[in-house]
């Protein structure tokens, strides 16, 4: 038979007809690549995935997994990586810390409504629990919005446009700042009984809800009190910004009550390594199994390829496991000196004799840090300490005694260089500059004399790009709740309770029992600074106490506003008792001299014309 084109087409068409006719309703197949509402809202596995997405989208400012360079923008660290990081910033921009993420609010509102309307196979208990968790996330998001912008529009339902040309029903005005905090409190109170997830440190349970309430109420209370007491009185006429001072005590009370509720939970301060208080503090944050201190964390897991580069970027230079990276953030002397000595004296490092005429000579590189608050060791790698069992060699150079001029000559070299050889024929062939620096201006080596320990993974290979790190990000831990409770109790005049709370935290850090017998806010401010360093608290704390504009006042002669460094040197002075000892130079960071400059308009992030064009009911923030 000869094949004609016509025959071919006809038979082809017939075959096709046969093939398709077999499938019933072939136009109504379930799409293989889209999850339908009916599937999503009836499947606990899919709903948990949705929740994971929302947890992941909660805003943060500085964390180990995002935006960590901004740690260097305040007074905890400076930038020692390539480029200038945030350290040449003349001032903080008016849009700093902004995060107007109503996309997440809308998604949560949609989820809440769809669980009601589309879930058919979930039990009502399951529905209630999921709804409680969604509402927790929404409360958390509103707290994050409130601490950035003040009062924001409280949208609790989906806003749906009906295409009638009128958008005014979709425009919601800003609530008062108090209303946002009240909303957060009432939502958390309403859902704490139905949250479930007991024992979880990554999904919200009643204690996590109360921890969030504790923090939010403390923020509201201190804004109420210190906005007035500082004389700033930053406010708008409609109350969108500014909380009346008369509400301070009730907010402090709510914060204290919430803290007490958390304290009834199954938490305790981590004390798994009591013989080494410094390591113990490091483990209290980074140890992931059987850590009774952590209340809420964002977890990472190498086995599931969910990991971050924080260790790669910030490991000490001399012990890095990659050929690039390391050292981007280096803690500064300002933070190091905030850690007190265990005998209760101020933490200023002693590097010069009382008259200021000569150095103090130390036998060891870690001499000045002896008897310091153990949290210093757990937070910062300072000279003469180890990490991952390896020596972190921190020595800037040598101080060569010049008898003729009766002074020291400073000699610095490359990383891991020797004072000797062709360059220094008169050298003693001992170490010149350590393998981890510090160097004043080199990128990717500490420019401050310190490295970060907190949150840096101590696992093998974790600072290489191939393996990376899976340390978790701690959102809430018991020590913060204790400090919150202490602050609230202090402000409420319950000083004895306040002392009990803060002394528990200090005792874990190596202080003797009842190390504080009097308390004021300045002490607590310092306690929060050293306990919660690098945990995304410092900026927000200074904002709510309304002291950020004074601490970081943009004045280059203000020691709080500029970064200080500490460079260790070995003394070369043959024939003298000082030979081979160590001396320390304190100075303003040579690499960046720009002072931190927090201006009054930074207390509330500008909302921006883009948002106000779309919703004219949104009033401007002060100074905007």
């Amino acid at each position: 038979m000869k094949f004609h084109f016509k025959t071919l087409t006809l038979s082809g068409a017939l075959l096709l007809g046969l093939a398709t006719s077999c499938q019933k309703d072939f136009l109504e197949r379930t799409p293989p690549s889209i999850i339908l509402d009916a599937q999503l809202w009836n499947d606990t596995g899919l709903l948990t995935g949705l929740l994971a997405n929302y947890y992941d989208r909660l805003p943060t400012h500085t964390t180990i997994y995002s935006n960590w360079a901004e740690y260097a923008a305040y007074d905890e660290a400076m930038w020692s990586g390539n480029g200038n990081g945030p350290n040449d910033r003349f001032t903080y921009g008016s849009g700093s810390w902004g995060n107007w993420d109503y996309g997440l609010i809308r998604d949560i509102n949609l989820a809440l409504e769809n669980i009601d309307t589309q879930s058919t196979s979930l039990t009502s208990a399951q529905k209630d629990q999921f709804k409680a968790e969604f509402r927790f996330l929404r409360a958390c998001m509103y707290f994050e919005l409130g601490k950035r912008y003040g009062g924001v529009p409280l949208v609790t339902t989906q806003l749906i446009y009906n295409f009638d040309g009128n958008v005014t029903p979709l425009q919601v005005a800003r609530s008062k700042e108090t209303e946002v905090y009240d909303f957060v409190a009432s939502e958390l109170d309403a859902i704490k009984g139905t949250l479930g997830n007991s024992g979880s440190v990554t999904r919200a349970n009643r204690y996590i809800a109360m921890a969030l309430k504790c923090r939010a109420m403390l923020y509201a209370a201190s804004i109420a009190k210190y906005n007035a007491q500082s004389g700033l009185n930053i406010s708008t006429t409609g109350g969108e910004v500014g909380i009346p001072a008369s509400l301070a005590n009730s907010y402090y009370q709510k914060s204290l009550d919430a803290a007490k509720e958390v304290l009834t939970g199954p938490y305790s301060l981590y004390n798994g390594n009591p013989s080494n208080k410094g390591e113990n503090f490091y483990e209290a944050i980074t140890r992931k199994n059987a850590n009774p201190e952590i209340i809420w964390a964002k977890d990472f897991l190498t086995a599931k390829d969910y990991r971050h580069y924080f260790a790669y970027d910030n490991i000490a230079r001399g012990i890095r496991e990659d050929n690039l990276g390391s050292s981007a953030l280096s803690p500064i002397l300002n933070l190091v000196e905030a850690y007190e000595y265990l005998d209760g004296t101020a933490g200023t490092l002693k590097t010069q004799n009382a008259a200021g005429t000569d150095y103090i000579y130390y036998d060891n590189l870690n001499g000045p840090f002896a008897n310091k608050d153990a949290r210093l060791y757990g937070t910062v790698i300072y000279p003469g300490t180890t990490f991952k069992g390896q020596d972190v060699q921190l020595q800037a150079g040598v101080k060569l005694w010049n008898a003729a001029s009766n002074s020291y000559q400073t000699i610095e070299g490359g990383l891991a260089s020797v004072y000797g050889g062709a360059a220094f024929p008169n050298g003693d062939n001992k170490l010149l500059t350590g393998s981890s620096g510090p160097q004043a201006n080199q990128p990717e080596v500490s420019n401050s004399g310190f490295y970060l320990r907190k949150f840096i993974d101590s696992g093998a290979g974790t600072s290489s790009r191939g393996i990376r790190s899976d340390t978790w990000w701690v959102r809430f831990r018991l020590a913060e709740i204790l400090l919150n409770a202490s602050e609230a109790a202090l402000e409420l005049g319950q000083t004895a309770d306040a002392l009990t709370y803060v002394n528990r935290v200090r005792e874990r850090a190596g202080f003797p029992a009842n190390s504080l017998t009097t308390l004021n806010l300045a002490r607590l401010q310092n306690e929060r600074r050293v306990e919660l360093a690098f945990e995304d608290h410092r900026l927000w704390d200074l904002k709510r106490w309304r002291i950020a504009h004074q601490v970081w006042n943009g004045n280059s002669s203000n020691p709080d506003a500029v970064a200080y460094v500490l460079f260790p040197y070995r003394v070369v002075r043959p024939g003298s008792a000082m030979d081979g000892k160590y001396v320390f130079d304190k100075r303003v960071s040579p690499r960046y001299r720009t002072p931190r400059n927090f201006q009054l308009f930074n207390y509330y992030t500008f909302i921006g014309n883009d948002i106000r064009n779309r919703n004219p009911l949104v009033v401007r923030n002060p100074f905007e």
């Binding site: 500082s230 009185n233 930053i234 004045n555 002669s557 308009f601 100074f623 905007e624």
Partner: protein
């Protein structure tokens, strides 16, 4: 050669024809004035940090004309003749917010002073060199209630631009109990660094709590 000349002439002709004279006259009316309190100019931080706004009515004019206030309190703008509204930008200068606009009729060169109401002012300032220091005195007084004083600072710089934004030679601040009695002149002193050569410039600034900008006295040149 002839051809070349013709080409050259033609080219020149084209050039001449292409050069049409600008048919838009530039704005040539100067609006000038001072930001004043009780008929005295208000010293502010310069470099565009304190601004006024000019608005013109009409569909074509959607954008403001920003008017920068110089550090001695003067401002100027080159404008077309017309009717404008001058507004004081909210939360911007060292004075109380006042959202009332000022009608400005520009007909040729025009002078308009902008009255403002500061919280604290410094008057009767004297700044002089005394040994290796610059000493200053000034009478600070409260002229509006509602806010407290935060500090009084003597600024010293190598150039005539002397305010919080500059990398200064030196500064000294009085705050807290040093400001409890404002009926007496305040005395400030700051050391002249060895690096200063020739002349230094100084002025006094008054900071009010909750107000971003300072009220400054006139800049004074001090020959070393």
């Amino acid at each position: 050669m002839k051809q070349f000349t013709i080409t050259l002439l033609a080219g020149l002709g084209l050039l001449a024809a292409g050069c049409q004279k600008d048919n838009v006259t530039p704005p040539n009316s100067q609006l000038t004035g001072r930001v004043i309190f009780q008929n005295e100019p208000v010293g502010v931080r310069g470099q565009g940090n304190v601004q006024l706004e000019l608005w013109e009515r009409g569909e074509r004019f959607r954008n403001k004309i920003p008017v920068l206030v110089a550090q001695d309190g003067t401002y100027s703008a080159s404008l077309f003749d017309g009717d404008y509204k001058l507004t004081r930008l909210r939360d911007n200068g060292p004075w109380q917010n006042n959202t009332d606009s000022i009608d400005v009729k520009v007909r040729g060169n025009t002078i308009v002073d902008v009255p403002v109401q500061p919280y604290y002012v410094v008057r009767q300032t004297t700044i002089a060199k005394s040994g290796s220091n610059v000493t200053a005195s000034g009478l600070v007084s409260q002229v509006s209630t509602g806010r407290n004083i935060e500090g009084v600072t003597l600024f010293l710089n190598t150039t005539q631009f002397v305010d919080t934004n500059n990398s200064l030679l030196g500064q000294t601040t009085l705050s807290g109990s040093a400001l409890s009695n404002l009926s007496q002149p305040l005395n400030l002193s700051v050391a002249i660094p060895a690096t200063a050569k020739g002349a230094v410039y100084a002025r006094i600034g008054v900071r009010t709590q909750g107000v971003g900008e300072l009220y400054y006295s006139p800049v004074q040149k001090i020959t070393l």
